[in-house]
Symmetry: none
């Protein structure tokens, strides 16, 4: 039998990121993804049940990674909540800095999954919960203004980052990742501090 050479599943995910980033989810053709991955169209369906499943897995992998790495931040007791938030921002910025195409896909195509609640990987919600728990911790310790809504805050931070990262990924000449990172931290940390 023909043995799987290399890791075709990963090839498809990589190709998916490229094609989704370039064309958007709906314009992306499976045949183009297959071609980019160097396999036949039909082979895509050996690894993923449909186009959405590819996008879903891209998301899942990203948040699984970020969630895992953020766990280390969460449990540290040598830094306070605001410093933890800074690390969280760094985590996200670093991830996307190393994979601009992934950034574009995440920012622009996330809503294709969010229309159907089932498609949102639970791991994503876990990641958001982590951020939320840091904010709550900060409020308890008097570092973060108690009058601020946790729900609003977590979306505010995510939203800002997403928008900026998309800007950076599409026009890296207009803003560097470090500049972006520094500004975001400055605003949020100063703004959040009581």
């Amino acid at each position: 039998m023909r043995i799987k050479e290399g890791n075709k599943e990963q090839d498809i995910l990589d190709a998916g990121i490229k094609v989704f980033a370039a064309a958007g989810f709906h314009q992306a053709k499976i045949s183009k993804i297959a071609e980019t991955a160097g396999i036949a169209t039909g082979s895509v369906y050996l690894y993923f049940s449909n186009k959405t499943a590819i996008l879903q897995r891209i998301f899942e992998n990203l948040w699984k990674e970020l969630n895992s790495e953020s766990s280390d931040i969460l449990i540290r007791d040598d830094i306070n909540a605001l410093e933890k938030l800074e690390h969280l921002i760094d985590l996200v910025c670093d991830k996307f800095y190393n994979d601009p195409l992934l950034a574009i896909v995440i920012v622009n195509e996330q809503h294709n999954l969010f229309k159907d609640d089932e498609l949102i990987p639970p791991i994503y919600k876990q990641f958001l919960d982590k951020g939320e728990s840091i904010i709550i911790q900060g409020q308890k310790n008097g570092l973060i203004d108690n009058s601020l809504s946790v729900k609003v805050l977590r979306h505010l931070i995510i939203g800002s980052l997403k928008y900026l990262i998309d800007l950076w990924a599409k026009k890296p000449e207009e803003v560097t990742m470090n500049e972006l990172r520094r500004n975001v931290k400055k605003i949020f940390i100063t703004g959040l501090r009581k």
Copy 2:
């Protein structure tokens, strides 16, 4: 009088907002927009050259309106830059508060236009420039930290607002517009202040 024709064009735009908000740009059918507007499918093409043109006009109209109203804020000399920014945030919040469906469309479908630079209405860039000039003014007057990047800031504010407004439009029971507005102001104004 041209009221009748003018109305029909507006009917299509209103229908477009409804249908785009409900189904997303790519899933939205022209036939559904026509039906919602109370006209025949083919008649849509008497007013708009294609589906994208409808979305484009929705954007243009929004930013035209916001741009026009923000002019009044910009020229006031009785308030400082930070207060002007507060008014800008109010302007945007009020607009979307009165038209949640529009909010959903703007937030989720904007990237369908941004893929092609030609499709971005110049008026949108003018609006961003207004915000930028307020920030620069604030930096000159020593109200806003000079080390912050104007370009990053303007996208940061827009991005945050967009994400939060989308949250509010889709799940108004989770967060009120006033809560949202208060939080955003608190963070940005405190964060921006030197």
Copy 3:
């Protein structure tokens, strides 16, 4: 607007019979049906929701017609049950004699509908019921052997006719319709008589 010329729905049904007869339901391509009907592929879907719906309508139309015409036979009081059966056989034979392609479709593709009970037009069951009621009448009047099962009989007659009509439609040189009709009547009527 473009006005419907002719009867496109009927054109599609006629084309469907031709193509289903030649290629079988599963091999039949919608594009071929459209071509045969002289319209564009997509236009088929203005009249029928899918391929199965075309087959379904072909069946429905046939049995509607046969059911309607058999009503006249059923209510006659100048002929007995066996004579009524003879007329029923004539009815079916005449119908198919005038439309051999329809015969092939009915005989060979019926089971594509019968897999899903919902797809069987109720009118077909009504037709079978008519035949059954004639047999019961004949049994009551002592013309038909009481020991024969009505259920078996009605399927026996239908099954024989279907098989023979298919033979005739595919190889008309091997057997004439009149020969077929005469033989069927002879066997069943003599066989059924007490």
Copy 4:
């Protein structure tokens, strides 16, 4: 010994009957047949050149068996033509009674072979010829009406049986095989007798 290989071929045929009966020829997947047979998909092609060949062999085996067994009936001189026909009917009924799935396949999928004359196993025609020769014998001996067409008769009997057996195989609760057998014999034998 070659038992092992012989078994595998038979496994595929048995699996084919199951899958064809359940899903129909066109919906039946080779992979499903392989799985049912307990072998790999590709292995099917070591024994059969394609999907149609499996169906073809199922037919061939059936008619080979029936043809062989009917030879014994044909040469008997202790019973007349009508009694021989009765035995032939019993033969067919018994065969299907012991293999209802086979019955379903034979009845519903036969036309997939009959579209191409080459695919019809010659042995099938030999079986029909046997039936024909019995009828001719009966006509010579004055037991069967001379005015009846041999060709029509042989198809009439086969067709009736097929349709009824399908009914029985699919809804055994509605009619027993013995009831079916009794009815068929009664009608044909009485109907055929001069």
